[in-house]
């Protein structure tokens, strides 16, 4: 009895249902995250857009981006019209309407004006720390990739990099506070009382005093640079190693010295990679709050960092506002109301756009480089 029908297995294969269930379950989880992320962005964009965008050309509220940060005054005049004015304009209003009573006055700290101060502060902190971290990080990576031999020293360096990468950011904050704010040496004529050690320089009364840089831009930059040093070193070493060995061999065979080889034949080809990965580090630096809370950031500051300085280096020792710290202040220190929303969601949206540009830039560049660089 030969029945071909019986030889062909009918219906679905045995594990088919199980396969579908597992696939649906795992896929559901995955897309759940995607949906949550999208919802998150949608919420911030929809709430922040009214603060940042306008219906008229150029469609961006430039005042919000370029004005100083001030206290917001909300009040009614006699006609019952509601005014929302930042402190400076509020004083103008009072001067222009002398003797008129105002009602229902409320003030909201940090909520008026724009966010020029925080934007500038974050830019300065980011640029400063990236310059420091790139200089030291790339140098260290060159040693690790080009010179290093297997030795206890290299082993220790690798261990240190691994450990530095894992330290929580708040511990970096403590470190920056105790080292850069309180302990690093400065040259000064009048050492402060809390100096750890004062070494006279026998020159104009100057002493090398270990009293720290106080809470300042440079202290914040140094702290942030220490924090991203491991990221920069690892990324740079990777891109240095990606340069083919033949480049080095050719240069050395032509009689170039080792430094010439590195400078002319290795660094130029690895530079795009180094810069791309440092974009990612910039994203991280721009977003960190805990390390700068005690080392550089202030909640309120009337003028931009470079205003009212006697010499250009004074900017390094001035405190700055920073966007992440500003957001923290807006979220934690002031009561939430309809008048503070513009400042709150507006700042968050600006910050998120900044971070998005940086990180998507690094993603795109990385993808482009991978396809471009084929040795």
């Amino acid at each position: 009895m030969f029945d071909p029908e019986k030889l062909i297995r009918k219906g679905l294969p045995k594990g088919y249902l199980k396969d579908i269930v597992v696939r649906l379950f795992l896929g559901g989880i995955t897309y759940l995250i995607v949906v949550i992320a999208v919802l998150l962005f949608a919420k911030i964009i929809s709430d922040g857009a009214p603060a940042l965008f306008t219906s008229k050309f150029p469609f961006v509220d430039t005042e919000f981006l370029t004005a100083r940060n001030e206290t917001l005054h909300v009040f009614d005049d006699l006609q019952g019209t509601r005014h929302q004015l930042p402190a400076s304009r509020y004083n103008e209003y009072l001067a222009a309407h002398p003797g008129e009573a105002i009602y229902n006055e409320h003030t909201f700290s940090y909520s008026g004006g724009g966010i020029a101060g925080p934007i500038v502060g974050t830019a300065l902190l980011t640029v400063g720390s990236i310059i420091l971290a790139l200089f030291f990080g790339v140098s260290a990576a060159i040693y690790l990739a080009e010179y290093a031999k297997q030795s206890p020293f290299i082993h220790a360096v690798r261990l240190a990099i691994l450990n530095l990468a894992g330290i929580p950011s708040i511990v970096f904050g403590l470190f920056g506070f105790s080292v850069f704010v309180l302990a690093v040496p400065v040259i000064t004529a009048t050492p402060s009382d809390r100096t750890l050690l004062a070494i006279p320089l026998f020159l104009n009364d100057w002493v090398l005093s270990f009293q720290g840089w106080n809470s300042s831009l440079i202290a914040g930059c140094a702290t942030l640079a220490c924090m991203i040093l491991p990221v920069i070193i690892t990324a740079s070493e990777e891109s240095l190693r990606a340069v083919p060995q033949g480049f080095r061999d050719a240069s050395l065979a032509m009689g170039g010295t080792r430094w010439q080889t590195i400078r002319k034949c290795v660094l130029p080809y690895s530079l795009p990679g180094i810069l791309t990965s440092s974009l990612l580090a910039i994203t991280r630096v721009a977003g960190e709050t805990a390390p700068i809370m005690f080392t550089a950031a202030v909640a309120a500051k009337d003028d931009l960092p470079w205003q009212g300085l006697s010499n250009p280096f004074g900017i390094l020792s001035s405190q700055v506002q920073a966007l992440p710290y500003h957001i923290y202040t807006l979220a934690a220190r002031i009561p939430n109301s309809e008048y503070t929303q513009r400042a709150q969601y507006g700042s968050v949206l600006v910050f998120l756009i900044l971070v998005a540009i940086l990180s998507s830039g690094s993603m795109v560049l990385r993808a482009k480089m991978r396809s471009n660089l084929k040795w």
Binding site: K149, G166, P168, V171, G173, G256
Partner: protein, 661 residues
Amino acid sequence: MGIVGSFRDAHFLAKHRQSNSTSPGTMAHEESSPPKPSHRFQRKGFSYERLIKYFFASNAGLTIVILVLIMVFLLKEGLGFFPGYRRELETYRIAGLEFVDISRKNLTAHEQLTSLLNRAYFAEINGKSNREMRRTQEASALFNAFSDRIAPTRDLILNNPQGETDANTGMLATLRANFEKQREKALEKLLPTPHLTAGERRQLIDSLRNRPAEAAEDPPLVTTLAAEFAAAQQKNSEPLQAYRSTIDTFESAGADLGAAIMEMTESVTATKEKLQSADILEKDRKTLLSAASNAKDPAEREKLRSEAEAALAEKPDIDTPIQALLERRPDCIRLHQELKTAAAGIISQIPQSLTESDANRLLKAARNAWPVFLADLDAAPQKINRWKHTDMVPLSDAILSFLTGKDWVTGGEWQDFYGILPLAVGSLMIAIVALVIAIPVGIGSAIYVNQFAARREQALVKPVIEFIQAIPSVVLGFVGILVFGTVLREISVMDSLQWVPGFPIEERLNIFTAGCLLALMSIPTIFSLAEDALNNVPSAYAEASEALGASHVQTTFRVMIPAAFSGILAAILLGFGRVIGETMVVLLVAGNRIKIPDFSAGLGTFFQPTHTLTGIIAQELGEVPLGSVHYRALFVVGILLFVVVLGINATAHHFVNRVKK
């Protein structure tokens, strides 16, 4: 450099070739016969090339320097904590504060028990009159929201001078028109009132629509509902009369002990202040003496020294107040025994159970705590008799009190305690919530993307998850505080979800909120590391499995996951390290209440606010005086974090390395 240079570089070349053929980073040994240097600088070991090399090496060494600096400075600022804390504890003992705290602990327990009984009582009544309570709450919530919206325009009318001038009348008319407009607007988008009938809701809204600006009394419906609720409470409290009076008796039983403690508190606080000012004087004297020994001018030295002599504090008299305190011992013991007799009698009068589940839970908690309370009262006389103010406080006490102390109390008038337990428990509970969510989601999606997803899906999911990683933590905290907390609170009051333990939540910022946001933060970490681990499994494993006839699901779960298990474990550990070390989210969202959560609430414990190790540093470091014991305590917390996180990371890397081998 010339020939020699290129000759040396030829060796370098050879070495590089060799190393490249073995593995990157491992170099061959030094060549056996280095070329003879010709220049005299080179003969001494200097060369331009070598200088550059040392420059780069020193930069690599910088990482070690930074790590060492971190450890040294954390220790430098932190280690002074234990002697300082020991001295504070010593003062605490010598001044007699500790003696008072023996009794106070029992009084606090008594107060807590009373409050538990009271809460059970009210939970029972409110539970029985739940419907009325909801109705009155909803009606007044709606009315309050309405009042808030019309408040500005209404206040304008009320505040305006009610003169009869023409200008003013015209203005008043404008204001009234404004008010009416605002009143109409305020009636849009009102809160839902599921427990009110449609007719009642309409009645309430109608009464609001015609409400004049000057009206001071509540709308009729709100008043009626409040009266209904009061009547229901009255009715339901009648069967509980006996229970009520038992609670009152118990409450008054502690009054005598409370009064005695109040009296003692005054005297010991005075002693403590004396001791502290003596400490400060002594410190000043030491500073003066050291300044004197450093002074160059003999006259000035003499002057400083004499000042120091003058500043020599007379030893504060502590014996008299302590003797007075010790004379109260029999008194204290008597009060304890009285309280114990009262408490032992009362437990039998408390009902065995109540009808409402919430009330019953609270009652159970009180009944469970009762034997402990009695035992504590029993032990108290012995403790009181044994206490001596002359006992030494060893350093180990300070360390033990830091590591196992249940209170983190700072800036108080009584006594500062630096016990890390509430913070550590808070950090741990948040981490548990975060990991319970993030592990299945992160690993599940890693499996999906790596094993099941099409290439196009991968291209969609991976960047999104990478993007989540790029969101700064402060933004997530912001979202948590302004959006997620409120949404969660609204969800928790829904009737259909009342079976969830802990619902409705009391605080919108709590362990669960923080845990959810941290889960979102750690999902990318876990996802990308787990996906890497799956990627690194040799493809031959999967091929062999499928050749044997295993289905895709079988291959994934029986072959791929076991093979990548170490890597997945490392991913989980690194995610854990990230969660423990995260600061801004928990600072904003965890609720910042320094207290060990009340575990009697079962799973509802996760909806209580808490504080964390990282959050406490961020919150308090900016406010403490440099060099104080509190300041140093924060650094010790930092050391603890450092050690814990590095331990976790080291374990994770151990697993990663095992995979590589």
